[in-house]
């Protein structure tokens, strides 16, 4: 087909090879047949409707799409949905209680005004939560918190209030 030719019909669905994936997302078993090149971030948003996982740069720099993959923070834009086959995925939607009660990390973000537009916040929260869940001791110095946050970009609040929120979260969780 030449580049100038107008195509008669754009197929509704791509002709990509597809593969079945079965995984656990926020405690629920999920089974879907997806294109092998579908990113986990797109899988969560478009196949499952979990749009709390945000997509910023799609090359692992901004950290917006951070979710937990088998209990550890990872970039869902650098993970294929097929790679998550058999995995346990946790997204921001599972962090607050069923009754809407905020998780202490979310509460700390609210108290410290650690978000403005909120685009980076789900990735920030998932990353901080993962680090808090590690048995490795926390370094709550300014430098230590900056190191935890170094893989997440925020373009509006700046980081001062986010650093304060990490300290406050540690307080609320009795991690000081």
């Amino acid at each position: 087909m030449s580049r100038t030719e107008i195509r008669p019909l754009i197929p509704e669905r791509s002709e990509d090879p597809r593969s079945e994936v079965a995984l656990t997302v926020n405690g629920q078993a999920v089974r879907r047949t997806v294109s092998v090149r579908m990113l986990l971030s797109d899988f969560l948003r478009y196949e499952l409707g979990l749009t709390g996982t945000h997509v910023g740069c799609e090359h692992g720099v901004c950290g917006c799409c951070t979710v937990h993959i088998d209990g550890k923070a990872g970039r869902s834009c650098l993970t294929l949905a097929v790679q998550a086959n058999g995995c346990n995925i946790r997204t921001i939607e599972s962090v607050a209680g069923e009754d809407g009660l905020l998780h202490p990390i979310q509460q700390a973000f609210k108290e410290c005004h650690a978000l403005q537009c909120g685009y980076c916040t789900p990735g920030m929260v998932m990353n901080i939560l993962s680090r808090f869940q590690e048995p490795e001791p926390l370094d709550l110095s300014e430098e230590g918190i900056r190191d935890i946050l170094s893989g997440n970009l925020c373009r509006c609040t700046g980081y001062i209030n986010i650093i304060a929120a990490v300290r406050r979260a540690a307080e609320l969780l009795g991690r000081e």
Binding site: R37, K72, T79, D147, S150, G151
Partner: protein
């Protein structure tokens, strides 16, 4: 962006995995995906097939025995960084790891994947060149060991054949009483190094340096041992004049041309500064009586 189209295989045995690679010369190995997936999302890489090795039996974990650390193909950076046995026998590993990207990337990216990616500015290849690590590659025709010095051939190019999978990487423990240090110059913490230097050395009873090892990344098309500087420093008391001589001896090691990040002359100055600083730190950490403190 989204990755270009590819065929996907998720074998459960190493034999199947290497067979898939052998059958398609444009097939590549997918481990943690922290270098490959960005390259594919940018459409800088366009492999015909991904052979995902995460389900292959026998490729997980870390073994520390007989003075060496065996890192399996699917071992993530963060696993190696936090492993208590690794920290005990080789504290340099955790020190270097602080500079490898960010924690969420280290949670997913594999050590062996970083070695096979072979970015000349990356920290893991430097570690293996510095300590003379070994890689074990398995292909359809058999398994072979490759010394780190021979493994890294050029920019993103290694001695691994296309149909081979590096199943293990071996790293020695530090000698008893050895001092160690690593640091790098970067624009931002977590970026690839503009220049990075690792140093290991021992000191004899009279305080003279022996077994000095120095290696650098970011200065050439691969990580390099600074053999001339090592030779200058061995047997000295690491006095300022000895360090001056070592820095002069390493100047020719910078072969990286000026690029968008910085100039070759800046790299040469940064290399000298790092050598002075890291030899000093390593010497402070080295026990004088040859036993670990």
């Amino acid at each position: 962006m989204k990755p270009p189209l590819f065929a996907y295989r998720a074998p459960t045995t190493i034999d199947d995995a290497v067979r898939f690679l052998a059958e398609d010369t444009d097939a590549v190995v997918l481990a943690g995906g922290q270098s490959l997936m960005p390259a594919m999302n940018f459409r800088a890489a366009n492999p015909s097939m991904l052979v995902d090795i995460q389900h292959v039996a026998g490729l997980k974990g870390i073994v520390v025995e007989n003075g060496r650390i065996v890192v399996k193909a699917m071992t993530r950076h963060r696993e190696l960084e936090l492993d208590p046995d690794v920290r005990r026998v080789n504290p340099l590993v955790a020190e270097i790891m602080q500079h490898v990207a960010h924690i969420p990337i280290r949670n997913r990216g594999t050590v062996v994947g970083s070695l096979c990616h072979a970015d000349p500015s990356a920290e893991m290849p430097l570690l293996f060149v510095l300590l003379e690590g070994t890689l074990v590659a398995k292909g359809v025709t058999g398994t072979r060991s490759i010394e780190a010095a021979a493994f890294f051939q050029s920019f993103l190019t290694t001695a691994r054949r296309q149909d081979e999978i590096v199943i293990e990487a071996h790293l020695p423990a530090l000698p008893a009483g050895a001092g160690w240090a690593f640091d790098e110059v970067t624009r931002r913490h977590g970026d690839y190094a503009l220049v990075g230097v690792g140093c290991v050395l021992e000191r004899d009873g009279s305080g003279r340096a022996r077994g000095v090892r120095l290696a650098a990344c970011g200065i050439a098309d691969r990580p390099v041992r600074l053999a001339a500087a090592e030779a200058v420093l061995n047997g000295t008391t690491l006095a300022p004049a000895d360090l001056d001589a070592a820095v002069r001896a390493s100047a020719d090691a910078v072969t990286q041309a000026d690029d968008m990040n910085t100039s070759a002359s800046f790299r040469r100055r940064a290399l000298g500064t790092l050598i002075r600083r890291l030899v000093h730190t390593a010497s402070l950490r080295a026990a004088r009586n040859g036993t670990r403190q």
